[in-house]
Symmetry: C2
Subunit: 358 residues, 2 copies
């Protein structure tokens, strides 16, 4: 017995396009493995949309991907149009067994997601923003049990699933979670450990496309803080983002001004980072940018960790989560792997879609 699953997707950036590709590639496998026929009934980019309640064809989806890759908008295609709100899209593109997928980085999708849940649809997020707003909104979004958000922390590395489906239901007690949840900051701290200059590493990360166009968005730590907040709330802690002390890797007086000016001023931080690395080394430690959850509170910042610890052994841009619990009391339960990149994120989203509809 085949079940038809209809996807509504918000977002056609890198992750969004990787997800469409993955769904197209997986269609046959999902039919024989899970008895699921997966199709798209609506796709939206930042200003336009395309809807077909009978499901878009392979050719139409390929044309959308091609258009987006060329920097066009969906409204440039004959079946696309300039959209109003995302709620309108959810309103029009309904049906049975609908999954709404938010792979944007927008903080404006929440009303449409709540409407989708109200209609009984399932929701999958790679977008952290809706879950990093107020705790009340987090509660509203998650209380139905029809929303999953694996890709918001560690991309495809099953950090959230391990917490929600292995640790919590086994009646284990979480004492502490520590993790590195930024590939960019992992690249930087590994480079610092190797004796390289902070300014040089930031420039290289920017040139390699590891950072946002303005690297301050990564170096400020807010993205990691949102992930820590999502983990804390998953544990049931009613935290707000403002409760999480976030250590920025640059001083406040460098937060205004152009990217160019920021990069030029960076070398004045080099000596201070060199000293921190050296001080850590004398204690057998190394520096990592760590999210730490313990005793109902979360903190995010540069920390000295023992070189021999899981965090200390982490190299490069991999993410890592270490769960210290009653069961994992002598050594933590550790998950590690590529925690960023469009393919890992799309993989995490797809696993969530299948989990929700099976």
């Amino acid at each position: 017995m085949m079940k038809t699953i209809s996807l509504i997707q918000f977002g056609l950036g890198g992750v969004g396009r990787a997800l469409v590709e993955r769904v197209l590639a997986a269609r046959d496998e999902f039919e024989w493995r899970y008895g699921l026929h997966v199709r798209y009934i609506a796709l939206c980019d930042s200003r336009s949309a395309a809807i077909d309640l009978d499901g878009f064809s392979f050719t139409q989806l390929r044309r959308m991907l091609a258009a987006k890759e060329q920097g066009q908008s969906l409204e440039d295609l004959e079946f696309g149009y300039k959209r109003e709100s995302l709620e309108d899209i959810v309103d029009i593109a309904g049906g049975e067994d609908v999954v709404v997928v938010d792979v944007t980085a927008s903080d404006e999708t929440t009303p449409a997601l709540l409407l989708a849940l109200e209609r009984g649809y399932a929701v999958v997020l790679a977008n952290k923003k809706p879950l990093a707003g107020s705790f009340e909104t987090f509660r509203q979004l998650t209380q139905s049990g029809r929303l999953r958000y694996e890709a918001t922390v560690g991309a495809g590395v099953p950090v959230i699933a391990t917490l929600r489906e292995a640790i919590i239901p086994s009646f284990d007690r979480v004492f502490r979670i520590e993790g590195c949840f930024s590939g960019t900051l992992g690249f930087l701290t590994t480079g610092l450990e190797e004796g390289r200059l902070f300014s040089e590493l930031v420039r290289e990360a920017q040139e390699l496309g590891y950072t946002e166009p303005d690297p301050r968005e990564d170096l400020g730590g807010m993205d990691v803080a949102r992930k820590a907040l999502i983990l804390a709330r998953t544990l049931g802690w009613p935290l707000e983002l403002k409760h999480i002390p976030v250590e920025s890797l640059f001083p406040a007086d460098m937060s205004s001004g152009s990217v160019q000016a920021f990069l030029q001023a960076l070398p004045r931080l080099d000596e201070s980072y060199r000293q921190k690395v050296e001080a850590a080394r004398t204690r057998g430690h190394t520096l990592r940018y760590v999210a730490r959850l313990a005793d109902g509170a979360a903190t995010v910042g540069l920390r000295e960790v023992p070189k021999e610890s899981a965090l200390g052994q982490l190299r490069g841009s991999d993410n890592l989560a270490a769960f210290h619990t009653e069961v994992y009391n002598q050594t933590p339960l550790v998950l590690q792997g590529r925690g960023a990149g469009v393919h890992g994120t799309a993989a995490g989203v797809l696993a969530d879609i299948i989990a929700l509809v099976r």
Copy 2:
């Protein structure tokens, strides 16, 4: 709305007792968190059983645990009796929302498990044997989707869930899985790396209770081979145990004779292991007892691995699984943690129970 879940448990050894304790401790939490009322309607040890279709009381369960800890049998209690087959138990102790839990190490539970599945019950295994028989039996047991077996590999470390619920449904392609799935052999290889003698390490492992009373059961590698077989079959590979080359850590001529004679003969292996460790070291490698799955085949044995690899960095008795896939192509997705012990195993079983009944 509260749902009542009725457990039938085969096995009241260390894991079985830890599971009963955990269920008792978790009862209130399961009610408020998941709306589940979890109770026991039948428990069996190797020769007796106790059944109460209304669910055993806290006091009765405590008395069973106390009796077992004192080496008694359930039939020594006034509500226990000498049982016939386990199928009889499944036959008598039926009802709605029943979960049969196999925490024995027996190869004789399969008919009762198949009967339970036929009745529409869910089944959770910590026992590897039923899944390590013929591939046809594996298929029969797993095809309904109502059987889970997280604790058979890596105890509570979510190795099976990651494969079944993160990697496979995300349409990722598995190139290779490598892992260390024996805490005992991890203890030995870490000790060898530190320059200790093989014979001394085996004696210490036996004295610490890390090995079976006859340490050859661990050193022979069959337990690891069964885990590799279960992982391979989870990937859909139709392997049989006899297809897996298993390297024993002692020569065939030491496989008969008393445990005492075995331990006395062990020092003759010391020099050979010392040389292997030394040879590995000159190449920047170290020795690990590795299960390896690739290209439809599995092997189990002592391997040289790079010291810098995830397997090479593993210390002591922790288990580790490294998934090399299309998404995790530069560095593997790694899971690591305590892979043995009654509490980790009971935790894995309990997470499976909740996953099946939610």
